[in-house]
Each structure stands twice: as structure tokens, then as C-alpha cells.
């Protein structure tokens, strides 16, 4: 694991997921998705509850590898990520929730086609850094962490940090011909 603090799923996070409520995921054009999320106090019980709800909601959503507070209607800079088991995952830090996270360095930009639970009918080509360093704060303890990651987890982190800033993948789509109807063939 390439981070300064252990942010992998520990007993506390497992309890958190159990304690969380499954919340409805909001879809664009809900204005909460377009607003910049507020910075939070990670030790605030409401923020800890929000983190629990994010993990619980992520867990019950098939294929969901990340969920940000605005996606459950809360304009706050908190998100959950878990890319464990995804075929494109290289480095994985397991399940974790970060507050007030920022990308402090980004490199090796790669295109990729992204979709979003909050934009269910579209996908788009978006360039993302395949190596990032992200700094944030853990809910509960308020401990500052610095993660270095790559590949799919890096993409997921950038996508969720964007949500916290009121940005959707639609804001970063590579061009007028890089937006597609989402194809879900069952």
C-alpha cells in the first residue's frame, strides 16, 4: 500500500457500512450535482453518518466503485471508493471514505470511457491521470492521509473528487463526438 496512513477497510469501516442507511441516488439535472460541496468537519457525527450512508449505498449498487455525497443529495466534500475486484484495477486501497480530498499531483493522462450512476443514460470519453497523489482526511479520526495510486482507482478518485466540486464527467468530455448513449445490453 502506497500511502502514509492505513486507509484500508478496517473494523471501524465495516461497522460503518453496517450502520449506514441506503440512500436514493440522485440523477442529473438535480442541482445538488452541480454545486460545489462544502468542506466538512470529519469528526462531526453527521459527517460520520454520511460516510456510513455512502458506503452502505455503494455496497448495494451493482458495479458501483465510488459514490460522492452530492450523489445522495448532500452537498459536501465526502466520498467513498472501492475498486476491489474490478478487472481494470491495478492498485487498490480497498474500501475507504475521504473528506475534503484534493488531487495534489497527477500524471500519465489517459483517455477512457466513463459512465456515472447519476447520469444513467450517457457515457463519454474523458482524459484522466493514471497516476495521482490525493490528500484527504478520514472521517471519524480526522487523520490526514496521502494516497498514491494508479489506473482504475486513480480514475475513480478523480471522478469522485470532481463530484465534490460540482463537476460531472460531462464537464470533461473530450469533444462533441465523445458523448454516447449508454449501451447496456442484457
Amino acid at each position: 500500500m502506497s500511502c502514509d496512513a492505513d486507509v484500508s477497510l478496517d473494523a471501524w469501516l465495516a461497522d460503518l457500512a453496517e450502520a449506514g442507511l441506503v440512500r436514493a441516488v440522485v440523477s442529473a439535472p438535480d442541482p445538488v450535482l452541480a454545486g460545489e460541496g462544502a468542506e466538512v468537519d470529519p469528526t462531526d457525527p453527521a459527517v460520520i453518518g454520511l460516510a456510513a450512508d455512502l458506503v452502505a449505498t455503494m455496497r448495494v449498487s451493482p458495479g458501483c466503485v465510488g459514490l460522492a455525497a452530492p450523489q445522495i443529495g448532500v452537498s459536501a466534500r465526502v466520498f467513498a471508493v472501492d475498486v476491489t475486484g474490478h478487472p481494470k484495477t491495478v492498485t487498490s486501497h480497498g474500501t475507504f471514505v475521504l473528506c475534503n480530498a484534493t488531487v495534489v499531483s497527477a500524471s500519465r493522462w489517459r483517455p477512457g470511457r466513463e459512465g456515472c450512476m447519476s447520469v444513467p443514460d450517457l457515457t463519454g470519453d474523458v482524459k484522466r491521470a493514471s497516476r495521482v497523489v490525493v490528500e484527504g482526511v478520514l472521517p471519524g479520526t480526522g487523520e490526514s492521509v496521502r494516497l498514491t495510486t494508479d489506473g482504475f482507482e486513480a480514475r475513480a478518485l478523480q471522478h469522485e473528487i470532481d463530484h465534490c466540486a460540482g463537476l460531472l464527467f460531462l464537464d470533461r468530455v473530450a469533444g462533441a463526438h465523445a458523448l454516447y448513449q449508454r449501451k447496456v445490453y442484457l
Partner: protein, 170 residues
């Protein structure tokens, strides 16, 4: 709801989209899906809208077209039918020296395989011809289709790549 299919094409200049969209908005037409792009020196708009009667849109666009040297068509196309995917998503890329029949030969292979093209762009850049298409292929047919595409491409002297259009929901 009844939908109108509208095409507008004319020599490219700033303001074509604004002019056409303004006419449509003035008639209460709700613009839904559209693609608008420059093809060589022409600007081409293909769009679907709902709301007004075809005759009213045609009259208003004819007036704009006469002033702006555009060619516009308006057709009523009935209500939207289901556009559920009919197969697995792939991206088809073809490029090589320009020659007659590349699009015909390549798309025939796709059609014969039961594939559905949902988006296609071609560009001629000097001697280079490029085709990129979004294709839905019947499950399990990609390998055989790719083989037939490779054969067709060899006959045309062009290169072809068929790759899965993967998208990740984050």
C-alpha cells in the same frame, strides 16, 4: 409524441446554429437529439424536435434558408420507437488510402453479421480516408465479424480494427 426530422446544410459560417435554433425556439419547437458538424466546407445539422407542425417549421426555415443560402428539409417522422441496444458495443476503425467503396464494403460486412451501426463518421484528410463507427454486434459474433472485416479490408488495401467499446460506471 410526433417528431420532426430536420436537416440544414450550407456553407459554413459563424452563426448558423444560432440562426436555426432561434427559428425553432420561436416556433416553440423543443430540440431533442442532434448532431451538427462541418463536412468539408459545409456545416450540416441533423436534428429531431417536437412541438410545432411540420409545415410551420418548413415555412420558417425556408425563409431563413433563402436569406442565408442554406438548404433545409423538414419531415414528420412519427413518434420515437424503442432504441434499446441490439447487441454488444464495439468501435470499428478503418483507415487507408482513399478509394471508392470503402464504406459500402465495410458496412455490408457489419450488416451481414446482424450488426447495427449507431454512429459513424468518415473523414478524408489528403490521401488518407478514415472511418470510425460505433457498432452493436450480436453476442458472440465479434470474432467472426472481425475476421470478415479483415478480409474485406485486405481487398480494399486498408487497415481495420474492431475493439470492444468499454465504459466504466464510476
Amino acid at each position: 409524441m410526433e417528431e420532426l426530422a430536420i436537416t440544414v446544410i450550407g456553407q459554413d459560417r459563424p452563426g448558423i446554429v444560432a440562426d436555426v435554433a432561434e427559428v425553432l425556439a420561436g416556433l416553440g419547437a423543443n430540440l431533442t437529439d442532434s448532431t451538427m458538424t462541418r463536412l468539408r466546407g459545409h456545416f450540416a445539422m441533423t436534428l429531431v424536435c417536437t412541438g410545432p407542425a411540420a409545415a410551420d417549421v418548413e415555412a420558417a426555415l425556408d425563409e431563413l434558408a433563402a436569406r442565408s443560402r442554406l438548404v433545409a428539409t423538414v419531415r414528420s417522422v412519427g413518434p420515437e420507437e424503442s432504441t434499446a441496444p441490439t447487441g454488444e458495443p464495439y468501435v470499428l476503425s478503418v483507415h487507408g488510402a482513399d478509394r471508392l467503396g470503402i464504406v459500402a464494403a465495410v458496412t455490408r460486412v457489419v450488416a451481414d453479421a446482424g450488426g447495427n451501426i449507431t454512429d459513424l463518421t468518415t473523414r478524408l484528410a489528403g490521401p488518407l480516408y478514415v472511418l470510425v463507427a460505433e457498432v452493436e454486434l450480436p453476442p458472440g459474433s465479434a470474432e467472426a465479424t472481425e475476421q470478415r472485416l479483415t478480409e474485406a479490408a485486405a481487398g480494399l488495401g486498408v487497415d481495420v480494427v474492431l475493439r470492444r467499446a468499454e465504459s466504466d460506471v464510476l
